[in-house]
Symmetry: C2
């Protein structure tokens, strides 16, 4: 195949007419200085203040003046300097979506995409922009904490797949408006959050397995340092009651791979089961692969149920029975709360529990 090929084309002229002069070589790091509001004012023959007003909705500016200002802006290719605006306004217009998922599996779960999509959509009419930030280990988390508390953003939407004490502590100390997606274990009173009743939802789906005649239901849980992982396991236990047997329990970390490993473990330890409740659709797909490789048919030999009703559930073969996790509603609600928080509306933390729904498909 092709050999690595590196070349430099020298100073090719940009294809668009670029107004700005070549940067002063002595301080090449600095962009050729952009036009400022002052330049616009001069060209339009008005004052700085007027340009600023024109920039911000044009209230109290005569239409004719507004137009000449806009002309000057276009002529100069002016864009506001955000740093200056932020400093003057005391806010940034940005909101961070914090994903503190671990290294190996970042973004593997397609649900993140849903959140990003809905957040962007909901934030836009509010005049705010979404930034996605990640912390893949402790040191990045430290950096991320610095970033957030340094005033880069006006608010935080926090996805918390794992417990994350230090970040939570910094967030409450900084008084940055924050909404947690899911239950912040041990910090319930300190934050606003939007969650589902994980325990009840898991109970329902395992009950469905039992009702449909399965005798022994195993499970691959999510990580137990997560409220979701814990809650779903609790629901499983409650549904099985006296029938609960530790030999039927394996643990995963939400990744597809870990779902596969969990199912393999169950098989290897000789656990007998005709149903399997997996803590997430994503893990369930991995688990189904392991079952298939071991010669178990789904659902004939083993019924498999997932959790989340993510896009993955439909792509599974056979399609997964699962619990609908209302991601979209969660995201919408979270933005609404965050907006109130940032605006100083309402008082105190807000807590929302959204309903879930059993979705029965061919895998059970």
């Amino acid at each position: 195949m092709s050999v690595p090929e590196v070349r430099s084309d020298g100073d090719v002229a940009p294809e668009l007419g670029s107004v700005a002069p070549v940067a002063d070589p002595s301080r090449a790091a600095r962009r050729p200085s952009r036009p400022t509001i002052e330049d616009v004012a001069r060209l339009a023959g008005v004052s700085r203040g007027t340009v600023s007003r024109a920039l911000n909705g044009g209230r109290n500016v005569r239409p004719a003046v507004l137009e000449s200002v806009n002309d000057a802006i276009a002529a100069l290719g002016y864009t506001v300097n955000q740093a200056a605006r932020n400093l003057a306004r005391g806010r940034t217009g940005s909101v961070a979506f914090v994903i503190s998922e671990r290294q190996e599996h970042l973004f593997e779960d397609p649900n993140w995409g849903v959140f990003v999509k809905v957040f962007s959509r909901e934030l836009r009419p509010l005049g705010r922009h979404l930034l996605v930030t990640t912390a893949q280990d402790r040191s990045e988390e430290q950096l991320l904490g610095d970033y957030l508390t340094a005033g880069h953003v006006d608010g935080v939407l926090l996805a918390l797949p794992y417990d994350d004490e230090p970040l939570l502590a910094r967030l409450v100390a900084s008084q940055l408006p924050t909404v947690v997606l899911g239950r912040p274990l041990g910090w319930e009173a300190a934050f606003s959050w939007v969650m589902i009743d994980e325990e009840e939802a898991a109970f329902e789906i395992v009950a469905h397995l039992v009702r449909s005649g399965r005798r022994r239901t195993a499970t691959v849980t999510g990580p137990l340092d997560t409220s979701s992982g814990q809650g779903r396991l609790a629901g499983y236990r409650r549904a099985l009651g006296m029938g609960y047997d530790p030999v039927l329990v394996a643990h995963g970390d939400w990744s597809m791979q870990s779902g596969r490993l969990g199912a393999e473990q169950l098989l290897e330890r000789g656990a007998e089961f005709d149903a399997l409740f997996v803590g997430s659709d994503h893990m369930a797909i991995g688990a189904m692969q392991a079952l298939r490789e071991a010669g178990r048919r789904v659902p004939a030999d083993v019924a498999v149920a997932g959790f989340d009703d993510s896009v993955a559930a439909l792509m599974a073969d056979p399609p997964l029975t699962t619990v609908r996790n209302p991601f979209e509603e969660t995201a919408v609600e979270a933005v609404r709360i965050l907006d109130d928080l940032m605006a100083g509306r309402g008082s105190g933390r807000r807590h929302v529990v959204l309903p879930t729904e059993l979705v029965v498909r061919a895998s059970t």
Copy 2:
């Protein structure tokens, strides 16, 4: 299941001792004003300049003084105001990763996670932070352009699954340091970029199919308004030479779902084939599902090959034969180039073509 439940807990005291006073209710939107460098200076009994130096590496500050400044910082819970720092420094320390993928499939492809991971890792020692930004439609793209050119970031890493003229034009006009991942069709000379030889790689894998005895190889391409989609189709054509037959060609949009649809189309139109080259691993998984549902065995009846060697390739059943797309190397190289650009080092645009590698697995 649980009924939606919304409650407000009133003003619960934060769990951490919070120093800041309650915000002035008349302008509740404003955070309780944070301590400034001035406050720190006063408490530490030094000047603002000294505090600033202490903040920025502590060069030219006596250890004793440095310590007392740090004490004051801790006592006050001071954190720098980024807006002020950015304004004074003329830079932000942030780099944007721009993903201009379309609505429905955002993040569905796990490869994005790889890029985010490697970018973060590579940027950190450079003292820069990664922001992930998305544009899911034209209007968001407009907003994103505003965001980027407003000086929120010092540089841009641009993933360009689709052609995106307006954004590209604004980027070159703004002279923002930018590195494109993949080939920016029609803008090759205006940007620095890191890519692979898509055409050659596709040629190799289709050649492999042919060499292994397959008589008729069909394809599901990526979107043809993409350099990758085009290039991979071109490689397919070249490998088939005179054997190229339009009836064997269907089109997808990189999504798993579209891979499934593409294969279904081929089947429905009665195309006969014993091999299928799919434009990405992700689509290939969808295509394999369609084949299986139609009763075709993989690889017995149809050999299936993907492209990218993404994590999905190994999770497929059977594991996919594919082409290794050097995502990690691409990301590392892109950051290296961007860093040079932002620092004003080197001259002109930089172009890198990375090698690929055929990966043969059980699907062919």
